[in-house]
Symmetry: C2
Subunit: 352 residues, 2 copies
Amino acid sequence: MAGTIAVIPGDGIGPEVIESARTVLDALDRRYGLDLAYETFDWSCRRYTETGAMMPADGLETLARFDAILLGAVGWPGVPDHVSLWGLLIPIRRVFRQFVNLRPIRVFDGVGSPLRTAGPGAVDLVVVRENVEGEYSEIGGRLNRGFPDEFAVQESVFTRAGVSRIADYAFELARGRRGYVTSATKSNGIVHTLPFWDEIVAERAERFPDVRWDQEHIDALAAKFVLQPERFDVVVASNLFGDILSDLAAAVAGSIGIAPSANIDPTGTHPSMFEPVHGSAPDIAGRGLANPVGALWSCVLMLERLGHEKVAAELMTAITTTLRSPETRTPDVGGSADTADVTAAVAALVAG
Amino acid sequence: MAGTIAVIPGDGIGPEVIESARTVLDALDRRYGLDLAYETFDWSCRRYTETGAMMPADGLETLARFDAILLGAVGWPGVPDHVSLWGLLIPIRRVFRQFVNLRPIRVFDGVGSPLRTAGPGAVDLVVVRENVEGEYSEIGGRLNRGFPDEFAVQESVFTRAGVSRIADYAFELARGRRGYVTSATKSNGIVHTLPFWDEIVAERAERFPDVRWDQEHIDALAAKFVLQPERFDVVVASNLFGDILSDLAAAVAGSIGIAPSANIDPTGTHPSMFEPVHGSAPDIAGRGLANPVGALWSCVLMLERLGHEKVAAELMTAITTTLRSPETRTPDVGGSADTADVTAAVAALVAG
Ligand SMILES: CC(C)[C@H](C(=O)O)[C@@H](O)C(=O)O
Ligand SMILES: CC(C)[C@H](C(=O)O)[C@@H](O)C(=O)O
């Protein structure tokens, strides 16, 4: 079961955490003979500054030949978001129909949650975020630019196909977990798209009679993520709501630095992309302070997706173990280690 | 400085917390001679069930004659949101051009924040929510209903006038506080309306050179509300983002039960409306368990708006004092009191 992986380290701490990921993946490969092959691409804001484009014109065609994409982080001060994100990250998600953005969150032993009541193991949830439609649409614009009566409009678009498949994914996933799905909505205020979302989620739920489910308005749900995070198992949400909830849940679990994500095309037609939730963090870039756990946990998700479930579990255990001790945790989670220390500790554990 | 107040107790715990508010307002009136006059309206889901409408056809004309509106809560199981909310609450906000939704949040002595680090006084912020446009628009609909290619669209609408006035309100408010405004955005993902929001906020900021300001994407901002809530002073946000952030902040402060809100028309052309953030809470309705603090704090905002600043401050002190002791706090904030106990304690304090 070989696998080819396109690696895009990107900007800021991206290359630092990707180096960590590569070191650990190599250790796993030596031990388990995963036979993974890598090609690295310098697509980034740096490349944009030098050449005028985040990636070459045939970038997506190039990526399409790989089994998976591993991304560090993109974004740099001075490069506008519509360049760095809409010139790389978002086209990858959309063109490769990665309609699931999977974001697991846990409170680990050693990583204190900022919540008094959330001890280790107390929070263990997955946000299943719709990743290709919804509120992030390119449809919209402005009228009367610069005049007092100027206005901007933006269309949210929800399709029956899009909502059905993300709901199905969430219900399926819950079957292998605690069997409980919460659907994020705001159909009391947003009266066209979200009642439609609610209706379709309810319809799909009927196919999963063994899964318990309910829905919550996003305002109340955000509050419950703080007041009773242990309640949740799988949370299915639109593009925007999933974005908000997953960052919020990562904070509740103690650090954005440990949160992973997988952008998945469940049909397997296109490569899926794995990236830590944290960004390029210009403030700490180049200082060896980056927490590599977000990237390493993203590798767990990648290994699972490539069919290496056992190796993935091994890596997850190693991550959990290193988080327990301050000597093998970075400062953002109350430790004294640098990126290299954490990497060495995880690599040593998985080397057996 | 007399004042006429339209009182709409509404559903569930609405009438219970409004009774508390009236008792306390009467005590204040006896002491300070506020000369307030009330008229109570039975507009509610109960009324809808009996008559087919939440309020009479001339309901808004009736309300227009008052100086302020005090609302408990509306909503009841079985009555759809488009009836209970869009038949009462939302028309009041919109027709009376209450474009500011003001939501102060504090961690009080006695009310434990669920956050380990947030001691009393640590969090003291105000969410200034845009209240009449943005993501809650009625523009949109569905195509191909019931067919596989069905989809729904919904238009967000942001106007230059609308964004300018809410930004101005936030900057003004910050002047009387710690002089710091945070603007909630998501212009990296929502590429038409929110870059427009950012641009206008930046333009208006220039008129307030004495106020420090920055902007944060809503995902990162939600995380920071949990990780560093003490950082924030005034947070200005669109209709949807303000809704989410204010519930989240209330949870961070320990309970939705204490959070107040004011729906304000700053021009004074129309009456403003004051309502606790909590809903009708059918699960605890009629059991005397409702926390009246959300309603009482809303009365503080109402008294300020009616020009009774000193009396408002007096009431706020009384609320703060009663929250300190478990005997005069409700169970949702770790106390043993019922609604009537809290009411009696606050009323006794303000009676002097
Ligand atoms: C009930 C609902 C439409 C309302 C809103 O989102 O405006 C409520 O959540 C609020 O915050 O007052
Ligand atoms: C950078 C931004 C457009 C992106 C998103 O909102 O999708 C990021 O926040 C994420 O969650 O991956």
